[in-house]
């Protein structure tokens, strides 16, 4: 009796070891998956951000700054097993690609532009217009402000140039709504009795918020010297955005049916 009890304790120990080790392995697995996904998303975001900056610079014929934010879900033990953990990847790039005077053809006031993008949503609210601006003004990015500029020899620009606002605050709210539905349908059809399982899951990942922008109205009238200019900020428009992505699994209707033998055949 004593020997049997000892053997049962040994069995229990093996199960406990397996349980503890299993949890450690799954945790390690989760972190590795999470790390791999994070790395991939960061790389992709950096590359896409630069390409978008290049594209915007070409279209605007000017210097542009482009910021791209990507919201994705990654495997993690810190979140629901199916839902995953929200990841945010961010990258900014600046590109100058211009021929002749910056901006649209015929423009005398356009100089540089700034763009923000959350997933597939452009955050745009250009509030100052230039005579040469055409079409959709939101395609000119963040708010612009007129400002005198000075060249290296101290000469003043002929016109006040449009300078893009800079973002100093981003109040963002991210909401992830996960829904799972599993149905089991039993058919008592005499010709084809079966049990059908139907499972669907969806994840709605929404990011909404407001970015606050301001202009540095201080001008350096003698860029040739090394004296720093004290920034003087003026509030610009706050811009709201709302980006939403819904993931559905399976993407098409997914179910599987198990033939059910009633024993009547």
């Amino acid at each position: 009796m004593k020997a049997n009890l000892h053997l049962m304790n040994k069995n229990g120990q093996a199960a406990a070891e397996l349980a503890i080790l299993g949890v450690l392995i799954i945790t390690a697995f989760s972190y590795i998956m999470n790390f791999g996904q994070s790395l991939g998303v960061q790389q992709q975001t950096r590359m896409e951000s630069f390409r978008r900056a290049l594209q915007k610079a070409y279209i605007r014929n000017a210097s542009v700054s482009n910021t791209l934010k990507k919201t994705v879900s990654a495997a993690s033990v810190n979140a629901g097993f199916f839902q995953g953990q929200g990841l945010l990847a961010e990258s900014s790039n600046s590109v100058t690609w211009q021929k002749g005077k910056p901006g649209d053809q015929g423009s005398l006031r356009q100089s540089s532009f700034a763009f923000w993008r959350i997933d597939d949503t452009d955050v745009s609210a250009t509030n100052d217009t230039d005579d040469a601006m055409t079409g959709d003004l939101t395609a000119y990015g963040l708010p612009l402000n007129y400002q005198w500029t000075y060249s290296g020899d101290g000469s003043k620009s002929d016109y006040q140039m449009l300078i893009p606002a800079s973002v100093y605050k981003d109040n963002a709210t991210r909401t992830e709504t996960y829904a799972f539905e599993g149905n089991k349908l039993e058919s008592d059809s005499s010709s084809n009795p079966s049990i059908t399982y139907d499972k669907t899951a969806s994840l709605n990942d929404s990011s909404s918020g407001t970015i606050y922008t301001h202009f540095n109205t201080a001008t350096d009238e003698d860029p040739g010297d090394d004296n720093p200019v004290t920034p003087s900020y003026e509030e610009a428009a706050s811009v709201s955005y709302n980006a939403s992505t819904t993931y559905t699994y399976p993407s098409a209707a997914g179910n599987w049916t198990v033939p059910h033998d009633t024993g009547n055949n």
């Binding site: 040994k10 590795i32 791999g36």
Partner: protein
């Protein structure tokens, strides 16, 4: 503890050992393969990016709708995880001299959307000029077709009309009109990636009327 129980315990331990290490090994192999998949995607993304680098840097109207790069991950399927078989290649990285670069169609080497519009305007103005020169040359040619005949040439020369000089002027106008069309096509191609009007073929300087013309003998003359 009896010898029999000790043997049972030892067997139990060996079973546990085999079981746990079997599970561990399988798990680690699967995990390693998924890890390789992450690495392969990293490489593929880089190869795709590098292969489209020159295309993205060219002045091309496709920029208005395309980044010439998109994230296209490798397919992670059962064969990859359980059999260790890759689903597809990560692609070929750029070779020396960038011979492997798959550029977008169009060959513009500089310019922007604004420059394209400007280039088209300049090309149109040049073509109008070329049309006028061709018109003048055709008028001269019509005149020379009867005035330059053997029967009348001596008569015109007698009254001081330089028939040979007029033929030279006609050829010069034709040649320069052709040369201007070449330049217009070159300007438009450089600005926009392609020309809306085809480059004259055969090239101007290979034509008879351009023989000895200054635009073809100058070191700065160009032709496509």
């Amino acid at each position: 503890m009896s010898k029999k129980n000790r043997t049972k315990n030892r067997a139990q331990s060996i079973l546990d050992f085999v079981l746990i290490f079997g599970i561990l090994l399988t798990f680690i192999i699967g995990l390693t393969r998924i890890w390789v998949w992450f690495n392969a995607n990293y490489a593929k993304r880089n190869v795709d990016y590098q292969n489209t680098r020159l295309a993205a840097g060219q002045a091309n109207n496709s920029h208005l709708s395309s980044l010439s790069y998109s994230d296209d991950v490798l397919n992670l399927d059962d064969n990859w995880v359980f059999k260790g078989q890759t689903s597809e290649s990560v692609g070929t990285p750029p070779q020396a001299g960038y011979s492997a670069i798959d550029a977008l169609s169009g060959s513009g080497n500089s310019g922007t959307a604004a420059v394209c519009s400007s280039g088209q305007s300049a090309a149109t103005a040049l073509r109008t000029e070329a049309d006028n020169m061709d018109g003048e040359a055709d008028n001269l040619d019509d005149f020379l077709s009867w005035a330059g005949s053997d029967a009348l040439e001596w008569l015109f020369e007698l009254i001081g009309v330089d028939i040979d000089g007029m033929e030279d002027a006609r050829d010069s106008l034709w040649c320069n009109a052709c040369y201007i069309r070449e330049k217009a096509a070159a300007i438009e191609t450089a600005a926009c990636g392609s020309s809306s009007v085809a480059t004259p073929s055969p090239t101007c300087c290979s034509r008879d009327y351009c023989s000895g013309q200054s635009c073809c003998t100058s070191s700065t003359s160009t032709s496509n």
